[in-house]
């Protein structure tokens, strides 16, 4: 418990540093990753991150050969950045000048560059000077070795990326939505694409230390994908993605600080995955649960209207408006529903105050129920008349077609129907006779 509070309250300097860095990294990756997601280039981030490895190795070799300290971070990160962009350039070249598409091009670049990097790592290990153990940490991330200057680097990069995002928001928006239109308007599409990928490269490179090059793609994709389930507005999506990324960074590295043999990079990704799954299920705009709920509610409405309509029509046909008691057997015969289903619908309608149970097997529409039933029948018949008059569908077929649509008729559509059929529907409040009569 003490440990937990220790970590949460960020008492430890190292923890503070790591949690702060990864939270900031997560936020930045979430924001820029949203553009990547919307531009449908998410995997480009993966090709980019894998392409950084040979850059890191070569930077080490160059700096060592030049007599500089081999593991100077800015130098290594510069090498990573350059080679990352070279990798992206290769993907674009392959795509433009051969018949290979994006997926093959990215797969080729990713694996070839990464293989080259592994080979170089092996070479470095054999060098007398080469304690390449440090370089390997860029593959999986090693937050334990982070110092104040690393944190500053992340802050600087985060600020730069966020400023660029704010300035170029609408340019990136139109690029992601409709690149052709943007090009026709005069926006330099290729250069904007390059700028966007450069921002991704910066985020990738600063994330190498924290989460490693294999997992940085997770921070680029997952928070923005999760954010998509909650909103239909782009600015909100960006804010949420930043928030989710920051949360993943913060919680993941805190968790890793508590259980010291779990690497921070992996924990961050697992937290992000958890956020994604929750969003997918619970997301207010596009979540699975919400959609399921909507469908279930619709099914209930449909069942209720079927029952009301059946009751109304039985009463109407036999002209029993003064003595509208309906027997169970009549109802069962009216539609093709099972006894169990009918019982359930009757119970629900009763609870909703639409029908009354009179005696053991008789039911009656309440006042509210009668109004609701009249409305349901009216909509159904309006739609049937429309289908017969305007869609040339035979009267014998319209019942089923009307059934599909009537439950989702909006008030505006009903008004339009009435307007169209005004010749046949004299009084707006009455229920027109059935076209089958």
């Amino acid at each position: 418990m003490n440990d937990l509070m220790h970590v949460i309250l960020l008492n430890d300097y190292n923890t503070r540093l790591v949690v702060g860095s990864t939270a900031l990294l997560g936020m930045t990756a979430g924001v820029i990753g949203s553009f990547l997601l919307l531009r449908k280039r998410s995997l480009m981030g993966d090709a980019l991150s894998h392409a950084t490895l040979p850059g890191i190795c070569l930077a080490f070799l160059v700096m060592s050969a030049a007599g500089l300290p081999g593991k100077s971070l800015p130098g290594l990160l510069l090498g990573a950045l350059i080679f990352g962009m070279v990798g992206v350039g290769c993907v674009l070249l392959i795509r433009t000048h051969t018949r290979l598409k994006d997926d093959a091009a990215m797969g080729i670049v990713l694996s070839v560059f990464f293989g080259l990097g592994i080979a170089l790592l092996g070479m470095i290990q054999d060098l007398p000077a080469g304690s390449a153990a440090g370089l390997e940490s860029f593959i999986y991330g090693k937050t334990a070795s982070m110092v104040w200057s690393d944190f500053l680097l992340i802050v600087a990069a985060a600020v730069g990326v966020l400023i660029a995002t704010v300035l170029l928001f609408k340019e990136l928006k139109v690029l992601c939505f409709d690149a052709d239109f943007a090009g026709a308007q005069g926006w330099p599409v290729a250069r904007l694409d390059f700028a966007m990928l450069a921002l991704v490269a910066v985020v990738t490179v600063i994330g190498l230390q924290a989460v490693g090059l294999i997992l940085i793609i997770a921070l680029l994709i997952i928070p923005s994908a999760a954010a998509r389930f909650w909103t239909d507005r782009m600015i909100v999506m960006l804010l949420l993605a930043g928030g989710f990324g920051a949360a993943a960074g913060w919680l993941g590295s805190s968790w890793s600080a508590l259980a010291t043999d779990l690497p921070a990079g992996a924990m961050i990704v697992l937290v992000a995955a958890g956020i994604f799954i929750l969003s997918m299920i619970l997301g207010s705009t596009r979540g699975v649960l919400v959609r399921g709920l909507q469908r279930w509610r619709l099914a209930r409405t449909v069942a209720k209207q079927h029952l009301l309509r059946a009751m109304y029509e039985i009463v109407e046909q036999a002209n029993r408006l003064t003595e509208p008691l309906l027997e169970w057997s009549e109802l069962l015969a009216a539609r093709s529903w099972s006894a169990r289903l009918l019982r359930r619908h009757l119970r629900i309608a009763q609870r909703g105050g639409l029908i009354d149970r009179v005696g053991a097997r008789s039911y009656r529409l309440t006042r509210a129920g009668t109004h609701a039933a009249a409305r349901a029948v009216r909509n159904h018949r309006l739609w049937e008349m429309y289908l017969i008059a305007y869609a040339d569908i035979a009267p014998s077929h319209v019942d089923r077609d009307a059934d599909q649509i009537e439950h989702v008729l909006q008030p505006e559509m009903i008004e339009r129907l009435e307007g169209l059929l005004s010749a046949n529907v004299r009084n707006a409040a009455t229920v027109p006779p059935s076209p089958h009569a």
């Binding site: 919307l38 449908k40 300035l167 170029l168 928001f169 609408k170 340019e171 928006k173 139109v174 992601c176 939505f177 409709d178 052709d180 239109f181 943007a182 090009g183 026709a184 308007q185 005069g186 926006w187 998509r228 909103t231 239909d232 507005r233 782009m234 999506m237």
Partner: protein, 280 residues
């Protein structure tokens, strides 16, 4: 063209009509909204448009018709510098497109876009104003008002804040049209605006087009429904990789020209194109 070995040495005389294109119309006018000079466009060495040469006068509604794969969309995209030209040039009011962007509006095909994108109808129309707003500056309230007016002109102002996937096909088309109208251009290129839209939207689009013509604007519209060409368009371009005919609808939209455009008299051209593609 039966050839004996000796006659192979004799080069046949140059066909008389080689340099006279049917119904190419007048000479190129310096200030016409659209003037295409000898343009050829090829994808991977496969010719898609061959030797297109035409001149469109101001204030006309021009229909571009032809069979599938005839290069109609490519014609528009080449004029907008969206695809590279193998040869030839396009001038818009006498100058190249890149200098005249502000005068040109573009309504692309509906499938060109991912309608799941998190933007509202108003957002999309506001994109038409981005060029006017300039680099790095945000969209202000007055821009949104212009966008709303454009949506009103096409009759869907009440759908301004709806996310675009929740719109019907016809409404989506109107959003694209409103975006082009917001640009307040003089020359409009529209790629199949009538494809798969309901009758009400089709009427609305035709009314907008007629309004544009009333304001002395010019519109080039790729159209697929031959039955309505005579009713909607004053001029027509009959295209099948090359321009079969261009000019006023009454003069040019004849059964003979239609047969030439659709009727397979140009299949040799098709085969040559395929042969070039195979060798590429």
């Amino acid at each position: 063209m039966n050839a004996t070995p000796e006659s192979l040495l004799h080069v046949p005389p140059r066909p008389v009509s080689a340099r006279v294109r049917p119904s190419a119309g007048k000479e190129h006018s310096k200030d016409s909204p659209l003037s295409i000079h000898d343009m050829t466009v090829a994808y991977h060495r496969r010719p898609v448009l061959w030797d297109v040469d035409l001149d469109i006068p101001e204030g006309r509604l021009v229909g571009i018709v032809g069979p599938n794969g005839a290069g109609k969309s490519t014609l528009i995209r080449a004029c907008l510098d969206l695809v590279p030209k193998a040869s030839g040039r396009v001038s818009i009011y006498g100058r190249p497109y890149r200098e005249q962007r502000k005068l040109v509006g573009y309504v692309p095909q509906r499938e060109a876009v991912d309608w799941d994108f998190p933007v509202s109808a108003l957002d999309v129309v506001a994109m038409g104003l981005y060029g006017r707003i300039g680099w790095c500056l945000p969209v202000m309230k007055r821009h949104k008002r212009i966008a709303l007016d454009a949506l009103d002109r096409v009759g869907i102002a009440h759908l301004a804040h709806r996310q675009i996937s929740q719109l019907s096909g016809g409404q989506q088309q109107r959003v694209f049209l409103a975006r082009a109208l917001a640009q307040d251009a003089n020359l409009y290129f529209m790629d199949e605006p009538f494809a798969a839209v309901d009758a009400a939207t089709e009427k609305a689009i035709v009314n907008i087009l007629r309004e544009l013509r009333g304001g002395r604007k010019t519109a080039l519209v790729v159209h697929h429904d031959l039955q309505t060409v005579a009713e909607y368009f004053d001029w027509v371009i009959l295209l099948n990789m090359r321009v079969v005919a261009v000019g006023p609808t009454a003069d040019v939209f004849t059964p003979e020209n239609l047969q030439k455009t659709y009727g397979g008299k140009l299949t040799l051209l098709d085969e040559a194109a395929q042969a070039m593609a195979r060798r590429a």
